[in-house]
């Protein structure tokens, strides 16, 4: 087996399902567009123009991709340890809330060099704690982290709602007061072409987080053990790894990544915590991680894809209703989830056939 073909197989395995899923989504999209009596070509052109076609639209894509990168990385980090974190939404909200709380609590005029790291740590810690609880329940009691994270979404969001609605909100709104402390600059401050878009320097934190997660997963002992636990818990245990502890750590890491995502809205964009800002980002993060094959680089690319879809939905709003984009996002996830194992099977079967005929020859 040549080195080339060895590289090709995993690459095929990574790309083919994504392409298949996209093809299916485009097909379904065409059907939906046609039912509204529009031309698919025109809609797609508008979609691209409104996203990658101008600096503002692209800035918006970057902004949305930032949050999705965090929730995607969060899901991927847990998935690498063999766990499903379906609770990114509440972890994201908690992280954002903690950052806002710290920013509001710091005295006015606290320099960013001090405030930003504090908020960062607060967001990661808060998200991490919310994530670690299901990890601990799994390690200690064998409780399914899927169910616990889903249930915790309801519990945590209701608790945050209670705190904000009864103690912290600005009258007539659903958000906390605005903070001047800890604000992270917009990208437009450096690249004027982005003017107006919400893209901000938290994007750099997201990229750093992706790089850090990559390093952690693939270059450190902790990552070696985490992935071993995800692939073969029995082998990891044999290798001296305490599986339960890795579960807790992985879930805490996952929650921390999601929690950091809260910065994008709270510190980078609005400078306050607002009820419901996390809605939908958690579930989309699952899609992002899935399409990105739980690889940090893949997650970043997939986040861009989903951000494009969701910003593009706004751009094509004149032609088709927003409901179409919701349907399309679900179709992409569904097609992806279905085609990953299928493509894997097909590729392995064909590899076997090839090697069988190769031997015969």
């Amino acid at each position: 087996m040549s080195a080339g073909s060895r590289m090709r197989a995993p690459l095929q395995e990574a790309l083919l399902p994504a392409l298949m899923a996209l093809a299916i989504a485009v097909l379904v999209g065409d059907l939906l567009i046609l039912t509204f009596g529009q031309s698919p070509g025109a809609v797609y052109r508008l979609l691209l123009e409104g996203t990658w076609g101008n600096a503002y639209g692209f800035g918006q894509v970057l902004y949305k991709a930032t949050t999705l990168t965090f929730t995607g990385l969060a899901f991927a980090a847990a998935a690498r340890a063999g766990l499903f974190n379906v609770g990114a939404e509440s972890q994201l909200a908690t992280g954002g809330f903690a950052a806002a709380l710290v920013a509001l609590g710091l005295p006015n005029g606290t320099p960013g060099i001090l405030a930003v790291p504090l908020c960062l740590v607060a967001a990661a810690l808060a998200g991490g704690v919310v994530g670690a609880i299901p990890g601990w329940l799994r390690a200690r009691f064998g409780a399914s982290e899927v169910i616990v994270t889903i249930m915790m979404n309801f519990v945590v969001l209701a608790a945050l709602n209670y705190v904000v609605a009864s103690h912290l909100h600005v009258p007539e709104t659903l958000h906390t007061p605005e903070t001047t402390v800890g604000a992270m600059p917009r990208l437009s401050a450096m690249i004027p072409a982005f003017a107006g878009s919400a893209a901000n320097t938290v994007l750099l934190v997201a990229l750093a987080a992706a790089a850090a997660l990559w390093w952690l997963l693939f270059r450190t002992r902790g990552g070696y053990e985490l992935r071993a636990v995800g692939l073969q818990p029995d082998a990891a245990e044999y290798g001296g790894v305490r599986v339960g502890r890795v579960w807790i750590r992985a879930m805490a890491l996952s929650g921390a990544l999601a929690g950091l995502g809260g910065l994008n809205y709270v510190l980078g964009y609005k400078h306050y915590y607002e009820e419901g800002f996390a809605t939908g980002s958690g579930f989309l993060g699952i899609a992002v991680a899935l399409v990105g094959r739980n690889h940090p680089l893949g997650v970043v690319l997939a986040a861009l894809l989903f951000a494009t879809l969701s910003q593009g939905g706004l751009a094509v709003n004149a032609l088709v209703p927003k409901q179409m984009v919701e349907v399309l996002q679900a179709v992409v996830i569904l097609a992806m989830a279905t085609s990953v194992p299928e493509v894997q099977r097909l590729l392995r079967a064909s590899a076997r056939r090839r090697s069988a005929t190769g031997e015969a020859a």
Partner: protein, 296 residues
């Protein structure tokens, strides 16, 4: 009197939970995670409203609700059983799909983003406000009866019929079932389809009782039903008890009439917190079917 009021209200609230949770039991007992109950319910609610509206008969609506839930569940079965896709991911996607599709067609069919027109439903109107009246009103709704017999029916199917025996075997040890010539995929598809139909009926109850579909009208009831399945440890009797407990808590909160003894946020958490507590084994170990969530 107050007891009667309490009973009548608990009854109305518990019906969709019972229907969806009964579906959840079927699905999880054949080894397929019932994350999708919410989506099945929402789809069932929508198709029930559409059916009742265009046919002018709530019975057609009921049938359509069942079929709507079935359609989505077959999609779930296709992905999770035929293609062996990951059940959690597919479940999440199907819930998103149900939200999107119902909104899309609500807009498409009725040009509204909030609700359908009024559709025929069950039950009498103008019954006055007497508690007895409202109880009678509920009892005139065939879906209430269907809901009430569902749990015993599911228990009967599960524990007394050949299909139930196979379902339990498939959920616990599919390879054993296979070795005896039982088609595991077929049993799984049937279980998932049943869960879709039952949850769809739960949605139909909501829509027909409300005489219309409104966007997102299930409002998390599918997840409460899933919570009941787990809290009830996958056993129909206990699951029914869990549904009743959750419904009674809701009734209690409603009957308190805004007397803010504890913030409503905390009352809303009850089913979810109880489920987590149950999973932590505080009230006896909650052991799911051994093969739950397994792709093969």
């Amino acid at each position: 009197m107050i007891v009667l009021v309490f009973l009548a209200q608990t009854l109305r609230i518990v019906i969709p939970y019972l229907l969806a949770a009964a579906g959840g039991v079927m699905s999880e007992r054949v080894g397929v995670i019932a994350l999708t109950l919410e989506g099945f319910m929402l789809t069932g609610a929508f198709t029930a409203a559409v059916g009742s509206y265009f046919a002018g008969s709530p019975w057609v609506g009921l049938a359509c609700g069942l079929l709507g839930g079935l359609a989505l569940s077959l999609l779930y079965a296709l992905a999770a059983v035929r293609f062996r896709a990951d059940q959690v991911v597919v479940g999440v996607a199907l819930n998103l799909l149900a939200t999107g599709v119902t909104r899309f067609f609500l807009r498409f069919a009725f040009d509204s983003s909030s609700n359908s027109p009024r559709v025929p439903g069950f039950g009498r109107e103008h019954t006055g406000s007497a508690a007895l009246g409202s109880l009678l009103d509920s009892l005139a709704n065939p879906l209430v009866w269907i809901g009430l017999v569902t749990i015993p029916a599911v228990a009967w199917v599960l524990y007394r019929t050949p299909f139930g025996l196979r379902a339990r075997a498939v959920g616990e040890k599919p390879e054993a079932a296979t070795s005896l010539g039982v088609s595991v995929p077929r049993v799984k598809v049937l279980g998932v389809a049943l869960s879709g139909m039952l949850a769809g009926l739960g949605g139909a109850y909501l829509a027909l009782d409300q005489h219309q579909f409104t966007d997102g009208m299930t409002a998390g009831r599918g997840f409460i039903a899933l919570a009941a399945v787990i809290f009830g440890r996958w056993d129909p009797k206990r699951v029914a008890a869990a549904c009743l407990l959750f419904a009674a808590a809701e009734t209690f909160q409603i009957q308190l009439q805004g007397a803010q003894l504890i913030p409503s946020q905390f009352v809303e958490m009850i089913p979810y917190v109880l489920t987590i507590v149950a999973l932590a084994g505080v009230v006896g170990r909650a052991t799911p079917p051994a093969a739950l969530g397994r792709a093969e």
